[in-house]
């Protein structure tokens, strides 16, 4: 129902406003004396070298991709689970097939070593 979403919208506003207000209040209460040495990047006591935003390795991308595939899969499975009580055995077997195909994908990723963290 629409009023549900209005309630959640209100909740989003309040949940963001409360910590924001607290952070602002704490900023007013606390001291504010920045200087260029204090504000330097902390790196275990040595000066930082080079750019922060550097290239990362492909492993992160593969994990995110495998996650995305399984996320979309479960999205398909949720309405199926809600309808479960009304389904025949055929419907359950269809979803089993769906899961098995994806399990095959997981097996491929596993065998290829895409799931190793190196």
């Amino acid at each position: 129902m629409l009023s549900d979403w209005l309630y959640i919208g209100l909740f989003i506003l309040i949940a963001a406003a409360l910590p924001a207000a607290a952070i602002i209040v704490a900023g007013l209460l606390g001291p504010h004396k920045p200087n260029s040495i204090k504000n330097q990047t902390y790196e275990c006591g040595i000066e930082t070298v080079g750019e922060t935003w550097v290239q990362f390795k492909a492993q992160y991308y593969i994990f995110a991709l495998v996650f995305l595939v399984f996320d979309v899969e479960t999205v398909f499975l949720y309405p199926w689970a809600v309808a479960f009580g009304q389904l025949t055995l055929y419907g359950v077997l269809e979803a089993t097939l769906f899961i098995l195909i994806l399990a095959g994908g997981l097996l491929y990723a596993w065998r290829k070593g895409a799931l190793e963290w190196v």
């Binding site: 959640i8 909740f11 949940a15 924001a20 550097v54 994990f63 995110a64 309808a83 359950v92 596993w110």
Partner: protein, 411 residues
């Protein structure tokens, strides 16, 4: 309607009558009532965190044979309030080159993403913020904002450790979302609804999903510990590896809010576990007296939270590759096969009595669990045999010869 049978609506109607008496329009009255409800819920959970911090420090102290906080107030109860007052007067230090808006938005979003979870939790019969018909997926969706807060914090701090820590953690968090979502599929499948209240109603009469599908509960529990970033999965704040991770450049209350978000989140996952697997507010007499149900609910959530603290107090941290292996090679295949087995067993036993069906589901879960443990045991033994010769070789050559690495692959 009487207060003891329906406290929230009773107070709502009373306040509504009071406000209408002041001559306000009905829509404005409704808006003010919702606003009040949201404020009570959000403020209540934020203030509750203060108590949680005391409780956790006390329990951890006891586990480590210390007293924990015991100086300020009786049993040290005032300690977190003193800490809070201190953190409010701390200076904010913003690193050079930080990205102002994401940097400041991240702690707010971290807290908001936890507070928002409480919008759909049923605290008792007819005591729920909003009974969304997609409640379970709503919880998953809000969890995504928590991940986003970590991305923003790590990126905007202009610090290599923060960025590295953030990306490591995100890879972990998104990975553990897979078994968590699959484990949540089981209660949805058994209750036939994604609404949190409907899931609680379906567990009436002691038909708790912890008993019916213990394996799903275990997978959910483990992956939600990982989502919260608690030991043994506390790579979020691996001090010895990446200094502190994504929140290294935060100070004062901005850091404090990441801390608050973590503490509140770990209680919140206990609350969700109690709702989904322990029957929520169900208990003798809880349907007619919602406040009694509220007490049951808090007690159940508290027990889960205590187990979580025992985990934290007693287990060492996993390595990141071990965590990834646990997720992708154990929990994900396990939860996938669990969903299939439970769906098939439940459909085949559709026409028998509830008790027989429950026993059938329980035994199928146990069989799956036993097979999984057996496979893991054999794979582990095989892996140890592969690694063992390399160690013997190294000892024989007293470290001078290069070590032959075990032929990788497998578990």
């Amino acid at each position: 309607m009487n207060f003891w049978n329906d406290p929230v609506n009773f107070i709502g109607q009373w306040l509504g009558g009071l406000l209408s008496g002041l001559g306000l329009a009905p829509s404005l009255v409704n808006f003010l009532l919702s606003l009040l409800g949201v404020l009570v819920l959000a403020m209540g959970s934020l203030l509750f965190t203060i108590f949680l911090i005391w409780y956790e420090r006390k329990i951890l102290g006891r586990i480590q044979d210390r007293l924990g906080p015991n100086r300020v107030g009786p049993f040290g109860l005032i300690q977190p309030i003193a800490d809070m007052m201190k953190i409010f007067t701390k200076e904010y230090i913003t690193p050079i080159g930080a990205d102002w808006l994401p940097y400041n938005l991240a702690p707010i979003m971290a807290v908001a993403s936890v507070l928002l979870l409480y919008a759909v939790i049923p605290f008792g019969n007819r005591m729920v913020g909003v009974d969304l018909n997609v409640g379970v997926l709503y919880l998953v969706a809000i969890g995504g904002f928590g991940i986003l807060a970590i991305v923003m914090a790590g990126w905007s701090s202009n610090n290599k450790y923060a960025l590295l820590g953030a990306f490591r953690v995100i890879a972990l968090l998104v990975s553990y979302e897979v078994p968590m979502v699959l484990a949540l599929l089981v209660p949805v499948l058994l209750s036939g609804s994604m609404g949190m209240s409907a899931i609680v109603q379906a567990q009436a009469g002691g038909f708790w999903y912890l008993f019916v599908a213990p394996l799903a509960a275990l997978v959910f529990f483990l992956s939600s510990i990982a989502e919260v970033g608690r030991a043994p999965f506390d790579l979020i704040e691996a001090e010895s590896e990446i200094v502190a991770g994504f929140n290294i450049e935060y100070s004062g209350l901005k850091f404090g809010f990441f801390y608050v978000a973590e503490f509140l989140h770990s209680f919140t996952v206990s609350v969700i576990f109690a709702t989904v697997f322990l029957g929520g507010w169900q208990g003798p007499g809880a349907a007619t007296y919602p406040l009694l149900g509220f007490v049951y609910f808090i007690v159940k959530a508290w027990i889960v939270y205590f187990v979580l603290l025992l985990f934290r107090g007693s287990l060492p941290r996993f390595r990141i590759d071990q965590m990834m292996d646990l997720n992708w090679k154990v929990l994900t295949p396990l939860s996938l096969s669990l969903v299939v087995v439970i769906a098939l067993v439940d459909k085949l036993l559709a026409n028998v009595s509830l008790l027989v069906r429950g026993i059938g589901l329980l035994s199928s879960s146990l069989v799956v669990g036993f097979v999984a443990v057996e496979i893991m045991r054999q794979a582990g033994a095989k892996r140890r045999r592969e690694v063992a010769p390399a160690f013997e070789h190294r000892e024989a050559a007293s470290g001078s010869a290069p070590v032959q690495p075990g032929s990788g692959g497998g578990l």
